[in-house]
């Protein structure tokens, strides 16, 4: 039985004096219920604060975001987000729809640049380099920070050309043999080579949904980025394909920093080392995955992960 249901039961046990205004607070998500026996000992935070609780820092930060604000026109989509992303770690961004987690993700490789009304302030650094500085070409940034999208979006080209596209435009391969090698390695690392090695010249769009998404991952790692951003990569896939991609993320995290946006608590729990919970554009809580799921500091986090909001 959930906490909210329990406290509501408590309230209901007391017979109301009058049928009209209920004086006892029923909205338990907003105010602490002093009588609840499940109240955390440390005192759980319930107010929506500008400060992030938990620990935004990590041991070996590779990307750091400081005081990041994003505006879509007049809409303040992200407010004062501070976050560090470690080398070779998987960090999951969770939160209800419209909370800004995808927006934040897209800030990390400047994909928001393509939206005319989007404006990003604050400081985001990749290995100490300001990625929003005027001198930096987003092309160079995106070669280092790759992205996998929610919907598998292979190019309407052959499987080979899909994977080879990144290396080609960046001139990563000196000759055909090297390119072949990159394509094969990338497909192999994405766990797709066995399935497609005999039909590399067939269109990538002819693969199944899960295969297409792995093709997109292969295409991303073919450029050999340092960070991979994943925007709900499994939301359109069945559980089997999801499991394969999650295994893949495990393997990839040995070499890359991975930032994944997900709506699945189980997925966040399975793949990530740290979890960041966003709510209404605020980064509410960041912590080790175990701690977030066992002992969230913030009431909103707990409500979300227990399925009460979102």
């Amino acid at each position: 039985m959930t906490m909210a249901a329990m406290s509501e039961l408590d309230v209901n046990k007391e017979p109301p004096v009058s049928p009209a205004p209920v004086e006892e607070p029923v909205d338990t998500t907003r105010k602490p219920d002093a009588r609840s026996p499940h109240r955390p000992v440390s005192g759980q935070l319930t107010e929506l604060l500008d400060e992030t609780v938990g620990n935004v820092h990590c041991d070996d930060p590779f990307m750091t975001a400081r005081d990041v604000n994003v505006y879509y026109g007049d809409n303040h989509a992200i407010r004062n987000v501070n976050l560090e992303i470690g080398k070779k770690e998987v960090i999951a961004l969770i939160g209800p729809s419209g909370c800004g987690k995808s927006t934040f993700l897209r800030c990390l490789n400047r994909m928001n640049d393509s939206i005319d009304t989007a404006r990003v302030t604050g400081d985001i650094r990749l290995d100490g380099m300001d990625i929003y500085s005027k001198e930096l070409d987003p092309v160079a940034l995106r070669a280092r920070v790759g992205m996998v999208f929610q919907k598998a979006n292979p190019f309407p080209k052959s499987i080979y050309d899909n994977v080879a596209y990144g290396p080609r435009i960046h001139g990563l391969a000196a000759d055909r043999a090297e390119l072949d090698n990159i394509v094969h390695t990338s497909l192999e690392r994405a766990g797709l080579l066995q399935e497609v090695k005999d039909r590399l010249d067939e269109p990538g769009t002819g693969l199944s949904g899960g295969q297409q998404q792995r093709l997109c991952i292969a295409r991303t790692i073919a450029v050999n980025p340092e960070v991979i951003l994943m925007d709900e990569p499994c939301s359109a896939l069945d559980p089997i394909a999801t499991a394969r991609i999650e295994d893949l993320m495990d393997e990839l995290s040995e070499d890359y920093a991975i930032v994944i946006v997900t709506h699945s608590m189980q997925q966040a729990a399975r793949v990530s080392k740290r979890v960041a919970y966003f709510h209404l554009g605020l980064l509410v809580e960041v912590d080790e995955t175990d701690r977030i799921f066992t002992n969230p500091q913030h009431k909103l986090t707990e409500d979300y992960i227990t399925g009460r909001i979102g």
Binding site: M111, R142, A143, G146, P156, G166, I169, C216, T220
Partner: protein, 425 residues
């Protein structure tokens, strides 16, 4: 349970009405399609019925004597002053020896086209050995005889009401019984320019004029239109200026075509001093006319490219140029081509702007380049439709058939190119 039942009853009560509405709508759609098809059928039927006979021309067989006294008095063939027509005339006289009077002879000579003399000349130029000998040749009859043989002139009506006299009809009948009359494929229609004589008039001049014009148009309008569309969609900042440009382009697509002709007259001919009646100027005017269509269609095609492809390319670190030329262009090209072909089809059928730049002239020579005076196919249709001679009526329809054929060919090419380029995603 009761509630569920009442919902079911309400739904079922409305069901019939819904079905009836659907049936009525289907019927209306079917009717509309049928009306369209019927009109198209009537149009094609009347066109082909009218125009089919223009692809044939009546010929008469003559035994000509290439007498050297008439053609080459001093032993050398004189291509300018030699009496080629005389050879034809005497061949006719030999067929009808009893025709003597001056007026009767003139009527007799009118049976054969003036092209016959040129035919004799061409034969002699090709083979000078024929001089002094005899030859049996098929020469085109005059347009009036052609009409008579094709049954387009009723011999039953009063003599004064028709362009052929009673005795001409008699002669033609006699020739027919002798097997000297035959209808053959009308090559002149495809090899000649315009002419005052219907049997000599051809559409090659107008066809070439249209071809040159469309070459100029496609060479200008397609690249400029696509470039403008790409710039506006992919690179231009989205601000008030962009909106203003968009509104103006949309308005330009609706400007009456004759206005573009006025513009062409003022700018290209009067100000820039380009030649009048030239396919170059026509092409320039028509590219102005088709540009808005191409830009609008190309922009729509670019917008139809799924944003996921764009994102994927950007996400891999492709530059804007690379995104446009590697991904957006190949996917949008079929749509761009569709727009182009719609624009080109409109350009091909356009005559109003050409009136303003002097492409409505009577031009006999087939244009050999972009600056030669020329007309265009729709203008030729207009000119012939305006001509009083009976034989031009069927040639008008024939010119329309050729125009439609040209259009069909153009569309077909575009469809084939588009099919080749089409890719699925």
């Amino acid at each position: 349970m009761k509630d569920a039942n009442s919902t079911r009853m309400k739904v079922e009560a409305g069901l019939q009405r819904r079905r009836r509405k659907e049936r009525v709508f289907q019927l209306i759609g079917l009717l509309a399609t049928a009306v369209g098809i019927v009109f198209l059928g009537v149009f094609f039927f009347s066109l082909i019925k009218q125009g089919a006979s223009a692809f044939e021309q009546t010929h008469v067989r003559l035994d000509v004597e290439m007498s050297s006294e008439a053609l080459a008095p001093d032993g050398e063939l004189d291509l300018i002053y030699a009496d080629f027509d005389g050879v034809i005339r005497s061949a006719l006289r030999n067929l009808f020896p009893d025709v003597t009077g001056r007026g009767d002879r003139r009527e007799l000579n009118q049976l054969v086209s003036i092209a016959a003399g040129y035919q004799v000349r061409d034969m002699l130029v090709e083979d000078p050995d024929l001089l002094g000998g005899k030859a049996t040749i098929w020469v085109p009859t005059s347009a009036n005889v052609d009409m008579l043989v094709k049954g387009k002139i009723d011999p039953g009506i009063d003599e004064a009401m028709r362009p052929v006299s009673n005795q001409q009809i008699r002669w033609v009948d006699q020739l027919e019984t002798e097997g000297r009359i035959e209808t053959r494929f009308n090559t002149a229609l495809f090899t000649n320019g315009d002419s005052r004589e219907p049997e000599l008039a051809g559409i090659k001049g107008a066809l070439m004029g249209s071809v040159y014009m469309l070459l100029v148009t496609v060479a200008l309008a397609f690249p400029i239109g696509v470039a403008a569309a790409i710039y506006l969609e992919e690179f231009a900042p989205k601000n008030r200026w962009a909106d203003l440009i968009e509104v103006n382009i949309n308005n330009l697509a609706a400007v009456p075509s004759i206005v573009f002709g006025l513009l062409g007259l003022a700018v290209f001919i009067n100000w820039m001093g380009l030649p009048r009646s030239a396919p170059l100027v026509g092409g320039l005017v028509l590219s102005l006319l088709t540009l808005p269509v191409i830009i609008i269609a190309s922009r729509a095609a670019i917008q139809a490219v799924p944003p996921s492809i764009r994102q994927a390319a950007f996400g891999l670190g492709a530059s804007r140029m690379q995104v446009v030329f590697h991904h957006i262009m190949p996917l949008a090209l079929p749509g761009m081509l569709t727009g182009t072909i719609i624009g080109m089809s409109r350009a091909l059928g356009e005559s109003a702007p050409l009136l303003m730049i002097g492409m409505v002239a009577f031009i006999v020579d087939v244009p050999g380049g972009f600056t030669d005076p020329a007309t265009a196919l729709p203008v030729q249709v207009f000119l012939w439709a305006d001509s009083p001679e009976r034989a031009f009526a069927e040639r008008t329809s024939a010119a329309i058939i050729v125009l439609l054929g040209f259009l069909l060919l153009m569309n077909l090419t575009a469809v084939i190119i588009r099919k080749r380029m089409e890719r699925k995603w």
